[in-house]
Amino acid sequence: MYKVFLFSVKRELLITYRSLNDFLMPFSFFLLLSIFFPIIITTDSLVLMKIAHGILWIAYLFSCFLSINRLFDEDYHSGFFELVSKSKFLIAFVIGKLFCGWLLITLPIIIVSPITLYIYGINETNIVLLFFSMLIGTPIIFNICFMVASLTFNLKASAILAPVLIFPLIIPVLILVTSFFGEDSFHSMHPFDFFKLLFLLSIITTLFTIFVSYNSIKNSS
């Protein structure tokens, strides 16, 4: 089981290494979006400070939308799923794919996010808090995106359908994080309680996502 998981991770990393373009796309899209927001809205640093956390999460969400369509496409068309769906270690493949997806799409964005926040003029405490909240909170959004992608990957309209399905499902998380960082409610909750809540939600969504994607891939062929 563990070996299969490692193999799956290795395979995903190798595929990414051979097509670095796919890896860089969501990442550069995130940077572009976060640069565009000040240009479009305002460069007034007081306004930017208020909306920075919202921009960060929206930009992350959009880069997720951009990348999830390709998560399953290649494996489905190359017949990899047909092979794997008969295996008794399918669950290890699913976990590996979920882990690698988060690692390759989200982690670069999280690492670069402090720089984006710095050019928005956020102070250091908030940068650290936002960094950790992204580290703990992004799995929730990524899990839901992954789940919907696993359900819609072989459909014609999946590129439009997936965001329509994802938006209502992630509203609680977005509200949670943005209201935590909203200026008038910043002290309403202790950061550790907030992180605990995010962590709990990540665990629950991870379990649900693994279950749904497992069944979906099993029945896909």
Partner: protein, 244 residues
């Protein structure tokens, strides 16, 4: 008597026509009584005037929209566990009625909100969560439409419905939390006045009318889906040939 035998499309097809007639006529009668009660008998509200009467449509439709989503999630859950055809059909048939109820609730709510609150839309907790619920319905329906094989569509949509059902209370509480944080309790739903017993009666009559209407329409739609899906089965062909 074995209760499980009613999960077969054949028996459902046989009984659903009668049930549709019963519930449809019940809802029609109740609508007429309810309209009379709510438009003539109910007293004028002391603060809101005549405009409050729209709540006799608004409140039942909002309740139904939430209830139908729970029903959808329930049938999807049953369908995934027991793999019964009929439960998926019922879940699918409920979606459109739920979306319509949601839409009615939103539209009547904003019509009511303009004279009483002075605006068509506020970012209140209830309004926002109703809007999100509407998008959940839209997502479910459009997902179902885009999958060709209905067996796969059943499975896929069931997961979305279940996840949405878990999410609906979370959405409601999160939105409530968010809205109360940002705008305070300037606009509360209860208009300040204690509800009159006549008003309550007419509200209950309208609620039951909406309830029976939804049951009738959902059963009718489910019957149509059964006919569509089972069109190759011999019992259906025999029944239709006998009827004509």
């Amino acid at each position: 008597m074995n209760i499980w035998k009613f999960s077969s499309p054949f028996l459902f097809y046989k009984y659903s026509s009668k049930l549709v007639t019963i519930f449809g006529s019940l809802s029609l009668i109740l609508f007429i009584i309810g309209a009379y009660f709510s438009l003539y008998i109910s007293p004028v509200d002391s603060q809101q005037g005549e405009v409050y009467r729209i709540i006799f449509i608004h409140v039942p439709s909002a309740w139904m929209s939430m209830l139908i989503y729970l029903v959808m999630g329930f049938w999807s859950f049953i369908g995934l566990i027991f793999n019964t055809r009929l439960s998926f059909i019922l879940s699918h048939a409920s979606a459109k009625t739920g979306a319509i109820m949601c839409f009615i609730a939103l539209v009547t709510g904003s019509i009511w909100g303009k004279p009483t609150w002075g605006t068509w839309w506020v970012w209140d907790a209830r309004l926002t969560s109703e809007l999100v619920l509407f998008f959940l319905y839209i997502g479910y329906i459009s997902l179902f439409k885009s999958i060709e094989s209905f067996k796969k569509a059943d499975q896929v949509c069931a997961y979305i419905a279940i996840f949405g059902t878990i999410n609906v209370p979370i959405i409601y509480f999160s939105v409530k939390w968010w809205a109360t944080l940002h705008q305070g309790a300037s606009l509360s739903f209860a208009g300040g006045s204690q509800i009159d017993s006549v008003m309550l009666t007419s509200l209950l009559i309208m609620t039951f009318a909406f309830w029976f209407y939804s049951i009738a329409v959902i059963l009718y739609r489910a019957k149509t889906i059964v006919i569509y899906r089972e069109s190759q089965k011999s019992w259906l062909k025999k029944d239709i040939l006998n009827a004509s």
